[in-house]
Symmetry: C2
DNA sequence: CCAAAAGTGTTGGTAGTACACCCATGA
DNA sequence: TCATGGGTGTACTACCAACACTTTTGG
């Protein structure tokens, strides 16, 4: 006799935020239910019967952290039979990018706390969430060099150096300022505005730039391909 | 009151085979149960409670087609609420590559027939399986240029022209014979054997080549990166 | 005037692309 | 001998990487 299927389906989100001083951060929540009560974990939860996977992600993020993401992509599905110590739960992981405005968090009702953590200094994590974050980091590193998704981590207007720093932080290696700027500007989807950066300390202020998404899609259709 | 989750979890496999004359093929089965009875579909089925996702794929493939794959990778998870007209079924799709030996199929018990179809001449397909195949093709095209997975579609020993043809078929564009050979041989993981090709018709026979997987992994560790 | 950040061009090397003729075999 | 498929080298180009000094501002 066949046993009926008893597998639960969850979604988890690896949300990246970037902050000029603190570098690349991941959004975590502290669980307030068992298993792994009071342990840090990725925001996420069970998918409802009638919602899509993306809707589930956005709902959970809203409930648990109040954060709305502006770039979301499916990452990988994790289905090892024992990844949840109690039940069989298969999780479809997504990763998302948010702009710096959301750096002030308000914890939701489903979790005790939501907090940004530096990707190099993660706390102990529930389930296989550490593995999921590593996987997401790998994907982000791979993707940022052949699709201009880095802009989703920056403000609408940003000094060029912010982009440069972002790439060096994400890739974990320094980038040559001049060559990097040449490469980026050659594509033609980055616009220089006439606004000037206001610095905190000393230094020569530069103009602010803006990523023209429409132009990028248009250029992409015409066959250019972004690649660093 | 919360309704309990009622979502089923399935796996589906896009298995690619390559045949010198017939090109790139996908393995399909004819369904013998509703919904979509007698319609062609990807091999796959519900995951059992205690098996891993990969075990589920291999079991279903064995049951439905008798095929054992030698390269398997998770593709994407498809979860649109209405993708199955009867129940909510979320499917985790994998794609696999098989060597040409398996071109003779023996249909299994769960399906009426298993058959190879040219990727350019697919029949009507059940569920969203056409979308899944397109997605897999895109992934294969993307991946074959930066990881040497093409060899998984060829015999252990193959003439160089087989590799060249494979790439031109998968990428959908001609490749320059001389430049292609230069590029590939420079990596150093392809070994020329002293066996000679036996042709069907006329033509100058060339030596057979062999992909040295161990050497590839070793070189990869040392930092070379395959890229066409 | 010093420290901090931003702006800016040139050169050399290399890797990629384009390209055409000869050779071995079977019919 | 002809048709088929396999084998091979060179030259040009274009892109990429390396690299340092000057300018503007705040303190």
């Amino acid at each position: 006799m066949e046993q009926t299927q008893d597998i639960r389906l969850a979604v988890d989100a690896v949300v990246f935020g970037y902050h000029a001083e603190e570098g690349l951060q991941v959004l975590l929540i502290k669980r307030n239910i068992e298993p792994y009560q009071d342990v840090w974990a990725l925001p996420g939860g069970l998918v409802k019967n009638s919602e899509s996977l993306e809707q589930a992600i956005e709902r959970e993020l809203q409930e648990e952290t109040g954060v709305a993401i502006n770039y979301l992509e499916q990452l990988y599905s994790f289905g090892a039979p024992a990844r949840d110590p109690r039940n069989r739960v298969v999780s479809i992981a997504y990763y998302g990018l948010v702009k710096p405005e959301v750096f002030d968090l308000r914890p939701g009702t489903d979790a005790n706390a939501a907090q940004w953590y530096d990707t190099h200094a993660l706390p102990d994590l529930a389930f296989d969430h550490q593995e999921i974050i590593h996987y997401a980091l790998k994907r982000l590193k791979g993707k940022i060099v052949y699709e201009p998704i880095g802009f989703e981590l920056l403000d609408e207007l940003f000094p060029f150096s912010a982009l440069e720093k972002l790439y060096s932080v994400v890739l974990g290696q320094p980038v040559d300022r001049r060559n990097f700027k040449k490469k980026i500007m050659k594509f033609g989807f980055l616009e220089e505005t006439d606004q000037k950066q206001k610095l905190k300390g000393a230094g020569r202020p530069g103009p602010l730039f803006k990523f023209n998404k429409e132009k990028y899609f248009q250029l992409k259709k015409e066959g250019i391909n972004f690649e660093l």
